[in-house]
Subunit: 339 residues, 3 copies
């Protein structure tokens, strides 16, 4: 692993060093595990005391952390500064380009010389893999898929027919991209007939998708995931959904068919978005929220059915007092009955 | 792709044409993308204005859509009519039967001549694959599994030992059928001992199962999924569950052990059904509902704990007014205190 | 399959036989399906009448079941007694050790002679597989992974680089162990930069993990799953989470980053634990509960936001009466208005 002095690191990650510029950093560790060679990070105010007692060679902190002689790298955006430091100190091992002998690659596929195709991967007809693309072990890329430069598919990803993926994307293991959407038309006997799903899936640049996520193709047009959007594990995105740019979707969220999610939105873990709903830019949806109506831009909602987070929290606080409220109503009634 | 005139289509899908029977249809597109060669569909009243302004060659609509010179194919069941039209205009590519050279097939497996086994698929001992069965790339079919005619397993499906699948079924990528159920007996030290799961999994005809779904085998008898039932992505079906016919289970639903779900039931996305519960025929469970008691046939429930949807909606509407209600109680108390 | 008399079984599973010790048991079946050669089990008081009418050769029951001449095997811990009986009557087929010819095994991997590596499995550099380890069909074990004795990976598991798994563990199909955590630092343009995840994943002994589960590696230190903990299907465990011993996590639970879950905890299906939360030993979290604050040891919570289960149930019972409560407030106001 490369080593850096704190002075070099401060310059490289654009942070202000308070402390000894000659200290050498060789690794990354948690506050409680770090030694004098390690860089650490204060992720949450909960760990303030742990940070103070840490043996880390230096800690990346924000503007308001008070130090008492500890080496710190201070930044207005400490999380980003730390991310850059980790990339420097602990870079990913380089991958060797080439196609593994056990991969099954259709002769019509165009695989760039700098791409890597892992063992037992399967590449279909007319697939295009850009420069430095990594196709992990046992990943399946079906016919007609295009994948942009520097995109990495982890092992055991499934990319269905015709899906387009941009540059600098990451897709983790078990994700299924371009599955058939859930559309059934009942006949007069209540039997359900599948509506053929003939749309596609378009994933823009810098999108990252977690493990075991499912994203359905469109029914006629495309399902669309906008530039820079990040999706956590086990999320479900239904057919015809359109998601904007730089939106954050936490684990186990479900987005039903034809919903439109804006840009810079945050969807909390396990929240659910009903079909055909619009969620405005910059809105924040709380964990487990159930969104059954449009959400304007820039607001924060939570609960089921999702409403203003502030109002919900006020109502939830009173919820536990319902028995008491009923008692007080009864007492009032009693009092009025016998004047 | 095949082409049809509107006149031919109307007859083929049993819809009434209002407009020019000579217009030629070559594709399927969304209302907003469609051109004069495309057929489109009005899926939701939200898109009425989009439908009116669409350049589609024709739109499949229901009985109550008013047109002003636009070509429409009108039907009492427009979704089903549209599904049939898509199947005609944009049929699935035919698959070539045969076993790919990289598939690993046990010599005792009986694979019909018309079946297709994809690259790197694994077929175990004593497996039976019916006519025109498709086993996708890297799909695993373990020992003793039987799969009926015309069933299609997408790439990367796992079908565990002894599972029986009917005819005309579809299973999407990443689904795991026949996993071991979650049954543990604690000993006196709180250590948990797995109860061996020796039952099976029986999937009837015309069942469709989404991507990354998990269905556990029974512990002693079978887990059962009834004819025509459709299951969306990332659903969990625990051991010993029995599901009836033509039931619709939306994404990320969880059904706990030994629950019994009737026929023609709708389970909304992310809803959860507690173990050993009975859900009656034709009932509708709302999205994110938490069902912790039996549900009679034909009712609609929602919320947690799930109750009559109508009553829940009334109560949820008042929920946000809890602070106001408390204020009004306080005002009454105040008034009675100083007479 | 082996056969046992009831007398032999009673002794082997440490239960008290009431009935004929000479009856022969050849199989396991549900109460409603069982015949005179089958052993069955009363899992739930709901099935008391079914148990009474069962044709089973014998039923494993608890202390309070009243019998009227039926053969029963009685135990203070009937579920554990039944588990042992199933293991005896219906043991797993033995597996033949060895590496399948289609597996791709790095020459630097150390695979014990008693281990089994299935078809199309991939074993990376410096992997260590203990005695009697089973690596299922198409399972991927990346570089530097260590797996303890008697651990079984089902088909199609993904174990990412450097993960350590203890002895006697079970991991089911589709599980992804050691995926990259969901950590992004926004820059001043709202673009999200991935924070490299350089920690590991440490899974202790006797841990069992369900189908399509995802467990992220730590960001700096390890994600940790303690001894004897059992995890059901489709659960998500985020980076830096620490889970104690013998904890039970039911299907579709989500645990956000850096949460600390104690020992002997029960997490109900579809519940969600917010990041950086502490859940105390022996606590019980209800199905679908949303835990957004620390939970003390030994308590039972439910609902959203999760609070004392007893209080929540009382409040939920009144929830449906909100319209009535508002009416009663209005009536009181009316009465006071016109004295």
């Amino acid at each position: 692993m490369p080593t850096y002095t704190l002075g070099q690191l401060a310059e490289a990650i654009d942070a202000r060093l308070e402390g000894d510029p000659e200290v050498t950093i060789r690794g990354i560790a948690r506050l409680e595990d770090a030694g004098p060679d390690d860089l650490s990070f204060l992720a949450n105010a909960r760990y303030l005391e742990v940070a103070r007692r840490s043996d880390a060679g230096a800690v990346v902190v924000g503007e308001d952390y008070r130090t008492d002689g500890q080496n710190v790298l201070r930044s207005g955006n400490p999380y980003l500064a730390f991310a850059r430091a980790v990339e420097l100190i602990s870079p990913h091992a380089p991958r060797r380009p080439g196609i593994h002998s056990t991969a099954v690659v259709d002769p019509s596929a165009r695989v760039s010389d700098s791409a890597m195709v892992g063992p037992l991967a399967v590449i279909g007809a007319d697939v295009q893999l850009g420069e430095r693309v990594i196709v992990g072990t046992a990943t399946i890329v079906e016919d007609g898929v295009t994948i942009g430069d520097d995109t990495r598919l982890f092992p055991r990803v499934t990319v269905h027919e015709g899906t387009r993926i941009g540059v600098h994307c990451v897709v983790q293991s078990g994700a299924v991209l371009g599955s058939d959407g859930f559309g059934y038309a009942p006949d007069e006997h209540g039997r359900l007939h599948h509506v053929p799903q003939r749309g596609g899936l378009a994933i823009a640049d810098h999108v990252e998708i977690g493990a075991n996520v499912t994203v359905d193709r469109g029914s006629a047009g495309d399902t669309v995931i906008g530039e820079g959007t990040k999706i956590d594990n086990l999320v479900h995105v239904a057919h015809n959904v359109a998601i904007g740019r730089n939106t954050v979707i936490v684990a186990q969220v479900g987005i039903a068919g034809s919903a439109r999610i804006g840009s810079h939105v945050q969807l909390g873990g396990q929240s659910g978005i009903q079909g055909h709903i619009q969620v405005g830019d910059g809105s924040r949806i709380g964990g487990q929220a159930g969104v059954i109506g449009d959400v304007p831009a820039g607001v924060e909602v939570s609960g089921y059915p999702a409403r203003s987070h502030r109002e919900q929290m006020r109502a939830y606080a009173l919820f536990a007092r319902l028995p008491e409220m009923l008692q007080r109503i009864k007492a009032l009634e009693e009092r009025l009955r016998t004047p």
